[in-house]
Symmetry: D2
């Protein structure tokens, strides 16, 4: 296909945080062209956003239903190839489902859906249609996260014993949703966000990161969820003890009331021979720790990295890449899969290295189990 892929967007209007991020990320590699969108259900906002993005006004829609209807009837040389869903959580399922049903690939912001049932429904649809569904668990897009996974898989640290993963933020330290802040409002509203607050918004990222790097699933958890700020409707703070399928254990914490923290996702993994430490806020550096020799500083862009990391790198060492590039890496992998797609052929997301519908289902199960464990007096609850 000697052309850019054509992307439509659902959500991402004037008040969206993540919509512009998706668009910028999709723009970096020159592989994707935004051709249409249904950016907002607030009257006029979709049009306004379409104009700001220099889109053809005819392809700026008021609703996603209208968009699918119109786009599927466009000739193949104009029609969008895939849709990017960047709405609040409770509007992930509808557009994703409709996209798959109408023959469009989907890349959807996490969490994949509002609840586990929706996620499973999407999984069935993907299986049935063979279309590509990508999930933007952004943080696995960083090259050094891929290096970490690669090193663990190669046994560099021996058998993994301990995993400590944290996602501390501080932005919800006050009742921000009471001030009209839109991001805070929908994320702390059970009707828009789902049954999990911090656990769903960022805890899933932490779990996904830990499982991605170790290559092992979490099997049992012992959870404490708190609503620290008075008046908050969902949890804003989570700590849990965790067990992994290989016998490793650890701690996962995610909080939005660690006042003064920004977006400090970080992970430490220890095996028999050594360990690693990575922090999202300084993503181009990873520390390796060894039993009998000096620690090492691994740096993105270096010649000594594995191909797993290198193929998701755009600049040489010392020229820092960031969040947008990590995001672009999810798009890069997703895009390759879309280009390789043929009706009837089964796409293997692991080959391309992007989070997919299975990660989405697992994430929703994780949130549901965490909420269940939090209210239990029993220490351990199993993930199914």
């Amino acid at each position: 296909m000697k052309r850019k892929l054509r992307m439509g967007m659902i959500g991402g209007g004037p008040t969206s945080f993540i919509g512009p991020i998706h668009r910028k990320a999709a723009g970096i590699d020159g592989e994707i062209e935004l051709v249409c969108g249904a950016f907002s259900i607030v009257p006029g906002e979709s049009k306004q956003t379409g104009e700001a993005l220099y889109l053809n006004p005819k392809r700026v829609y008021e609703t996603y239903q209208e968009m699918f209807e119109a786009e599927k009837n466009l000739p193949p040389d104009q029609r969008m190839d895939f849709v990017s869903v960047v709405t609040p959580n409770h509007v992930h399922f509808g557009p994703s489902k409709m996209a798959l049903e109408n023959g469009f690939h989907v890349i959807v912001e996490k969490p994949i859906s509002f609840n586990l049932e929706e996620a499973k429904a999407l999984q069935k649809l993907v299986a049935k249609t063979g279309l590509v569904l990508g999930l933007t668990h952004t943080y696995t897009g960083y090259p050094l996260v891929k290096e970490a996974r690669s090193m663990v898989a190669a046994g560099k640290f021996g058998k993994i014993r301990k995993v400590y993963v944290e996602y501390p933020q501080g932005w919800l330290s006050t009742l921000l949703e009471g001030t009209g802040n839109l991001q805070a409002s929908w994320r702390t509203d059970p009707k828009q966000s789902g049954m999990g607050g911090a656990i769903g918004d960022i805890g899933t990222h932490a779990a996904n990161l830990a499982e991605y790097i170790t290559g092992k699933k979490i099997t049992e958890i012992c959870v404490m969820l708190n609503s620290v700020v008075k008046g908050r409707l969902l949890d804003d703070d989570c700590s849990m003890l965790v067990k992994f399928e290989n016998g490793a254990t650890g701690v996962l914490l995610a909080t939005q009331v660690a006042a003064g923290e920004e977006n400090n996702l970080n992970i430490r993994v220890y095996g028999e021979k050594g360990g690693l430490e990575w922090k999202q806020e300084e993503p181009n550096t990873m520390i390796l720790k060894w039993l009998d020799r000096p620690k090492e500083i691994i740096r993105a862009g270096q010649a000594y990295l594995s191909d797993d990391a290198k193929k998701f790198t755009r600049t040489p060492a010392g020229h820092p890449e960031g969040y947008l590039e990590a995001f672009a890496n999810i798009y890069r992998a997703f895009t390759k899969a879309v280009r390789d797609y043929k009706p009837g052929k089964k796409i293997n997301p692991a080959k391309y290295d992007f989070p997919d519908v299975a990660d989405g289902v697992h994430g929703m199960s994780f949130v549901q189990t965490a909420v269940k464990s939090a209210t239990s007096t029993r220490k351990w609850t199993k993930l199914k």
Copy 2:
């Protein structure tokens, strides 16, 4: 008392790690003179150590019983003032008890005793005799730990909400006790170390640090203890969810199998308005985090610190102090109390700022409760 205080030492022979540390720490401020010791029960070793320390051979003893007997009969202008107990855990109680019973003040390496009963017995003896008992929970000796406590107490961060305290080490990642390593051998031996491995050896330091800084006691814990290395007789790894008496919650972890870690005790505390972060391996720096303004870097030795920190500082900013100076600060505070001691007068350790017998009792209770929680299927266990 216009003279140096006279110290006797029990333990600290040729194979001791902590004995020389105590002696060096005690030597820094020029307030203490080592005059006698019973350094080892291995025949000849006490004499050997005494010679290396240039002691009067007459005051180098084979057993601590012999030492107390001899010293108490010396004239007051020669007799030791206090004894420093630096033996393995199971030999903390005997010498401490005998010291108190014979009128000597005691500074004892942590944990205060082998089990909770012994700790309580010492507490009664201290109450009865009025003598000074110090416990070397070294890490609260660092000036910036004192600054942290001072800032929390002054309400700089608002009400404390979250506490994350960690003590990762890696030195027991292999079955070191099987190689003849003496430190590993006694620390992993239930008969010498007590019922707790990592939880007792370093978990108590973590708990003590958290409680010291926040000024709040841990009230409930949910504990996972592991013996990660095959063949190990005690736990070498601990993670727990914790609740504090003010409603704060958090996580405490202590592990000796985090391969590549040295002695990475660290703590993060968050309140309504901000938080702090401190790491023992770089003890002269503390990061403050704030809701609405830049993070700050607090540095030991600076003029802007509180008196609580300044009075335990020896060098100006930029001239790093370390572990020995932190240790010396415990001795400094203990020594002041000893100088102020008068028969019949009650010494208040909080005024001098050193860990005392109450901390010892609480620490033993913490270990005992942690072991109990670890084997329970109930999520939460209360500390008494």
Copy 3:
């Protein structure tokens, strides 16, 4: 102008390092569309690159002369708006001159030209045509560099006294140009690179950064240039004492033989009341130092930053931006100026905040003076 700006590119073929960087940077904000290019003079390579970029084959040219000829004859609704020049140094002048002569705006990779004379010729052309010329001194594109400049200008540090700016790299520690490495070959070749090696390639970045942040020009320098690696034709190492127009003094160093360094551009500036420290490899953090109070950690994306920084930021704090975004910021400012351009109107680059032809002339003068000083036995040489 309710459309994307149309960009043509000169250089940036299959072996180019900086060409893809420019394209990715230009793609981030969705304001620019690459429509044509003369990517290489190696037969076939331009076509190959054009295909890889999904360009219309008719607008992929073999030479830049051909490109200007063809593009200027296209109708205004197709014709490119500006050209991006990303060739080796000795081919900066030709395309830039021809662009201006044919009515196209120019954004050109630094250094602006091969020598000072060419730079001055371009300056005259810009003055004559009124067209916009941008120069990609990338590193001033970082938001925190803009914050630094803003703070200095606001007098936060008092009068500036000391400036230490460094640009250490290690990649030329061996005679890489002897191994066929293309980047090393042209950069160490006086015929392609100009009279300066390290001083021209990276020393100019350091000087530009120092002058940008302080708002003061370097007036006198005392230079040591070395060709450390045997067989190298240009300097690969530079150190100089510098004086600034306000009386501040300092040190500038740039080296390509600091083995193990990546791209460690960094700067420290001190005034009467405090100072700042910024490192390109961790560009989202800046340390402020103060006479009487704790150091502060300024972070990109924070609400407390000035508008000067905020308008060049795409993500909230904790979502790191990097080199591509800094690069995109030069494009962002340049693009705004191009959109505002009207024949006869004078564009003020300072208003938009992008490096322009005056910076280019000053940079070439800096290199020429440095080379002169390096061979002089006199301590100080003035910049004119």
Copy 4:
């Protein structure tokens, strides 16, 4: 000699900064006993200090002349073994000379003397008497500085090419000497401090550190000295280009007007294969940089260090040592030499690894040459 060495002190009264540092450092290892002193020439202050240090009042003297007279007449089993000279610079020579003339070893605070002539006179006296003279260039006492020297000597980095050494402080950013600050007053007074301000006070430390680690002497310098703060009588700021005897080049800077800096002595050394970076304020960590592989983090106390470092270490890795321990290491080495001293035997300071009279002479020559270069219009001035 089965006893502690007996130390006398000259200087170190109530207002002294460095006196208490020396005493604490000398106390750490239990090898030294302070027995006498002439602590101040201010009437009563010597007595006051002697009491605070629990000294025998008979051995607390009013003047150093009196002290030497009295001590040399004491019986050998009481007489001090060596004297520690911790007075301001202009009173280093007198006591040191008198000590050597009366048969006492000397450890003297740097700089060794007020000017080069005095230094040379002491050198002759040391040669004549064979007594041990140590110079407290403290910073070479850090274990990782010794490791750095050892690695360079072993050729780990190949031939050394670049040396960047810096000593930025900020404490003299204002005219502190005008406020009655005693430390500032004598250090900025040419009559007490000598011909160099910052260059003498801290520039010599930087030069000494660079020469110690590289094992190469500075041969030529090109110096800029500034008195940045109005009204200051000596330089408070220094930058210089330097050449070393092996062909390496670099930059040395020392400043006391880098507002907000504490005591940030640091060094970077690069050879053909890699380099090292060390910062005094975090002295237990050293970064190694390599051409083709990850950077490494070397940590004090680790088993993988050389014996050169290990023999100056008191605690295992992760238990930070600091400035006092570095200081104590100078005393440790000096003390060993004193114990080995026999009349007629020549002591080789390099064997013990402490700075000696030759370092003192070289340091004074460095200061004198720097001042000369600073006023010259010639670029380079040779050190003799």
